[in-house]
Homo-oligomer: 404 residues x 2
């Protein structure tokens, strides 16, 4: 990113506080019958008030046409280039279930799979065993395998046939091949190092797979081996403190978002289950931080379900909560989403996301309501999500002049 | 381009069909008397219907302020960076007259010129000899020179003093100097290799010029030599099939556009003379392809002529034809131009080009008519032309999610 070439020369610390509210998957598409989107259908007087007083626009999460996962979508919102800073699948899996991960750990996605006596993979998902069965197997593996060659092994259930694995210790590298043959009817592969630094890691992993298979042999389950992929470390990325001179905190209830916030060095508050918990935490932590990332999940979940009314309710519920934030003095408030999750598509999408920035230092525009189409006529225009952070920092007067 | 770093990881094949309609040079500027552009003056109910149901915007062909030729303008529309993938002048000349070109051929633009007995160039255009005279000379050259040092030589008239030359064979390189002294009164230059790989090519070309001069000596014409420039090969560019997993077809009547489509690996339909031929072809080929590039030339020609009424008629003629397309089921339809050709400028221009995308997966906006000013208020905003292709692919659901 161009701005990275000058950022350290212009960023300055001050007392001003920034609140970034991410309504996950808030953007939508019109309902076929009404022609109105979820946001256009919801009653949301508080969000509309923000739109009226603020500067609106749309944001493109990654690139035009590209549908992002939560990882790249948040990396963008945090002001980093999501293509330059790709987060490995293993790391995202580990983030998603809230495992604590250190900077040198190797994170891995695992699948339980079925093999026959000749090591031919007959079911890459072991019949999608129930999550409870997965938990029992994982417990047995963890009891029997605590370390291999001085490398600590940590395993945890994700769901059904999926699990996450962390390797912790010295001399590890993520540059090893998968053992997944990708197709059923083929033999499970050996894990091989992709460069010389990874020879040791491949040895550890092959021994791990062997020992897992021995444990599974004695159990009444379709899970007979473990397929490993997505080997990755936490990306080497400047923290918010180093990059922006901010003291940031993450207020979120879902593990994935806490994990992503941790990657950029935010303090992460644990034990928040509901949006009310989150808003209480915001009040409690107000004095301690100058950057607050507040995450609201329900809009995305309803979109993924394709449940239009549920998404409207999620928007309306959150709108009501916003009134409880407004008396706190933030110098800059931004409300947006990490991506769109239109109910009609039942999943994430590439569509630009509505965005409002409220601050005494911005230029208010004519937008009167917080919707996709209204925000498209806002003064911000349609901008890459990775630019938003810099407009927030600027509105909080955290930049010196560039050049004389 | 950033997207090239992730494209192969997210592109997927499906059954959905995309139709890209290029109304060449469709963008215009206001008539001095009416204050209305060509599009604003035309009656075009079908284009307006598309604008009403679709998502509109403007596209910048190459970069703000840059007027493109047809080459870079189309390369952009096809989703490639037009600055990174520049197409040589020789290749464009050859495309423009519909010569068949292979991947290792060297294409060259030639001018007949007049020289005196001391090889001083006295007229760089040989008095702009008539095209018929050019054809006679070219025929004689082709009869007498079929190959040099095992390199096949193919010559073809362009018009007036201009011709195109192809070298076909082993060991050729485009890295040779021109022999054009650029000014009259100077001696014609020897062609010299610009690196060691081009020594052989320079020898072939110098012998070619010598032999052409000998042939021309005996003829009653002002053409006494041949100036050569624009040496180029087909750019090494991923095909649509490789890059987008598409099966694309070009439906165009002019050689230039067929040549450009061939460069990106489209199947090119020959023998189409009119827009009616093109629309019949579209119907006939509907089942066989999943990407259709349909080119309409008359809007550009009228703009080049500076004939405002003719351009209005061209728009209205095409508008009527659109009704014959609409009952075909395309999942995504895009209508735009490759660039603007305002009648008041009598040529290509840098002005952003109106754009509409119709698909059930887009967000319709409030734009009600397909004009420059109306589309500028559309939800797509003003975007680089090279991004359009990715929005079309996204709307056709041809992308997997990027990241998790």
């Amino acid at each position: 990113m161009e701005i990275e070439k000058i950022l350290s020369g212009i960023i300055k610390k001050n007392e001003n506080k920034i609140l970034l509210i991410v309504m996950d998957g808030v953007g939508g598409l019109p309902h076929p019958e009404t022609g109105l989107t979820e946001l256009e259908s919801a009653k949301k007087p508080n969000l509309d008030k923000l739109a009226k007083s603020g500067m609106c626009g749309l944001s493109i999460p990654v690139l035009p046409g590209i549908t992002p996962g939560s990882g790249p979508a948040h990396i963008s919102l945090f002001g980093y280039d999501p293509i330059q800073h790709q987060i490995g699948r293993g790391v995202l899996e580990v983030c998603g279930i809230g495992m604590e991960m250190n900077r040198d750990d190797i994170a891995i996605r695992g699948n339980f799979a079925t093999i026959d006596e000749n090591h031919i993979v007959t079911d890459r998902r072991a019949g999608r065993i129930p999550t409870d069965e997965n938990k029992k197997i994982v417990q047995k593996i963890q009891e029997n395998i605590k370390e291999i060659k001085n490398i600590q092994i940590i395993v945890q259930t994700v769901k059904e046939h999926r699990l996450a694995i962390l390797l912790r210790g010295k001399g590890l590298s993520p540059f090893v091949s998968e053992n997944d043959p990708q197709k059923e009817g083929l033999k499970i592969k050996k894990i091989v190092p992709l460069n010389d630094d990874a020879i040791f890691t491949a040895e550890v992993l092959n021994e791990f797979v062997d020992r897992v298979e021995k444990i599974l042999k004695g159990m009444d389950t379709k899970a007979k081996t473990i397929l490993l992929r997505g080997f990755s470390k936490i990306p080497d990325i400047d923290s918010f403190e180093k990059r922006y001179l901010l003291k940031p905190v993450c207020i979120a209830s879902y593990p994935m978002y806490k994990g992503l916030a941790k990657i950029v060095g935010m303090d992460v508050i644990q034990g928040l289950d509901t949006i009310d918990d989150e808003i209480s935490a915001l009040h409690k932590l107000y004095d301690e931080y100058d950057f607050f990332y507040l995450h609201y999940k329900k809009t995305d979940s309803a979109g993924e379900d394709g449940d239009f009314n549920k998404k409207i309710s999620a928007i309306e519920e959150f709108d009501e909560k916003i009134s409880k934030i407004m008396h706190l003095k933030f110098d800059v408030i931004c409300v947006t989403g990490d991506h769109s999750t239109p109910c009609v598509l039942k999943g994430h999408s590439w569509h630009p996301v509505p965005l409002v920035i409220v601050s005494k230092n911005i230029m208010p525009d004519d937008v009167e309501t917080f919707t996709e189409r209204a925000c498209s006529r806002g003064l911000l225009g349609t901008i890459p999500a990775k630019d938003i952070m810099y407009i927030l920092l600027a509105s909080a007067m955290k930049f010196e002049k560039f050049g004389a």
